[in-house]
C-alpha cells in the first residue's frame, strides 16, 4: 500500500545534473581558451598579432557560450535555488564595485607599492569569484 502512495518520479535532480555538467563543460572551455590567450602569445606564437587576436576572439566566443549556459542553468534551477544564486551574484557585483574603485584610485596614486597588488582586472575577477562562492554558501546555509 505504501508503495502506491509514492509520488511519481520526476527529474529535477537528474535535469540539474545534466545542466550542471553542461555548465562545467562550458566553464572548462572558457578556462582553456583563456589560458591559450594568456600564455599562447608568450610561449606558442611569439606575440604574432594575428594568432593573438584569433585567441581573443575564441575566448570571447567561449565566454558568450559560458554565459548562455549559465543563463540556461539559472532558468532551470528551482525558485529558491535561483534566488540564492542571483542574490550571490548581486553581492559579488556590489563588492567588486566598492573594492574596485578605491583600489584603482590607490593604484593610480602609487599608494599600493607591492607589485602583486597592482590593480588589474584579474585580481578583481578573483575577488568577485570568491565573494560569489562565499555568498552562495551563505545563502544555501541560510535556507537550509
Amino acid at each position: 500500500m505504501k508503495n502506491q502512495l509514492k509520488p511519481p518520479e520526476n527529474g529535477y535532480q537528474s535535469r540539474m545534473r545534466t545542466s550542471t555538467k553542461r555548465l562545467c563543460r562550458w566553464h572548462g572551455w572558457w578556462a582553456a581558451a583563456t589560458l591559450l590567450m594568456a600564455f599562447g602569445p608568450g610561449f606558442l606564437w611569439h606575440r604574432a598579432l594575428v594568432p593573438t587576436l584569433v585567441a581573443v576572439g575564441l575566448d570571447v566566443a567561449m565566454g558568450v557560450g559560458m554565459i548562455l549556459a549559465t543563463k540556461k542553468y539559472v532558468e532551470e534551477l528551482d525558485e529558491l535555488q535561483r534566488r540564492i544564486f542571483l542574490n550571490a551574484l548581486g553581492i559579488a557585483v556590489g563588492v567588486g564595485l566598492i573594492v574596485g574603485v578605491p583600489w584603482t584610485v590607490m593604484d593610480a596614486y602609487h599608494v599600493i607599492h607591492s607589485h602583486g597588488l597592482h590593480a588589474n582586472f584579474g585580481l578583481l575577477v578573483i575577488l568577485q569569484g570568491l565573494t560569489f562562492l562565499v555568498s552562495l554558501l551563505y545563502g544555501t546555509w541560510r535556507y537550509r
Partner: protein
C-alpha cells in the same frame, strides 16, 4: 466627488522612500569617491594618512550604499526584483567575458590604452542600464 488621481499605494510610497534613500547613498558614495580621487592632489598634497582615511570613508559609504541597495531590492515587488536581479546577472557576465580578454590584451600591449578597472566599471554600468531598460520594456 471623484478623485482625479488614485491615491498613492503603500507599495509606491515605500518604494519611493527606498529610492530616495538609495539615491542619497549613491550620491554620498560619489562624493566620497571624488574626495578620494581628487583630495590627495588638490587638498592634502598626497599625505598618506589623509589618503588612507579617504579610502576608509569611501569603502564605509560604499558598504552603506550596498546595504541600501539590498533593502531596495528586498522591498521591490516580485517582478521588479526579477528584472533587477536579471540585469545584475547579465552585468556580471559581461564584465567577466570582457574584463579578462581586455586585461590580457593590455598585458601584451595589443591595445593602445591601459586596461583600467574604471573602464570595466563603466562598461558594466552601461550594461546594467541597458538590461534594466530591456527588462522593464519586456514586461510592459
Amino acid at each position: 466627488m471623484y478623485q482625479s488621481k488614485p491615491p498613492e499605494s503603500r507599495y509606491q510610497s515605500r518604494t519611493r522612500t527606498n529610492v530616495i534613500r538609495l539615491f542619497r547613498w549613491c550620491g554620498g558614495w560619489g562624493v566620497a569617491t571624488a574626495l578620494m580621487a581628487f583630495g590627495p592632489r588638490f587638498l592634502w598634497n598626497r599625505a598618506l594618512v589623509f589618503t588612507l582615511l579617504a579610502v576608509g570613508l569611501d569603502v564605509a559609504v560604499g558598504v552603506g550604499m550596498i546595504l541600501a541597495n539590498k533593502k531596495y531590492v528586498a522591498e521591490l515587488d516580485e517582478l521588479q526584483r526579477k528584472v533587477q536581479l536579471n540585469s545584475t546577472g547579465i552585468t556580471l557576465g559581461v564584465g567577466l567575458i570582457a574584463g579578462v580578454p581586455l586585461s590580457v590584451l593590455d598585458a601584451y600591449h595589443v591595445i593602445p590604452f591601459h586596461a583600467d578597472i574604471a573602464y570595466l566599471l563603466i562598461l558594466m554600468s552601461l550594461t546594467f542600464a541597458a538590461s534594466n531598460l530591456y527588462g522593464t520594456r519586456r514586461y510592459r
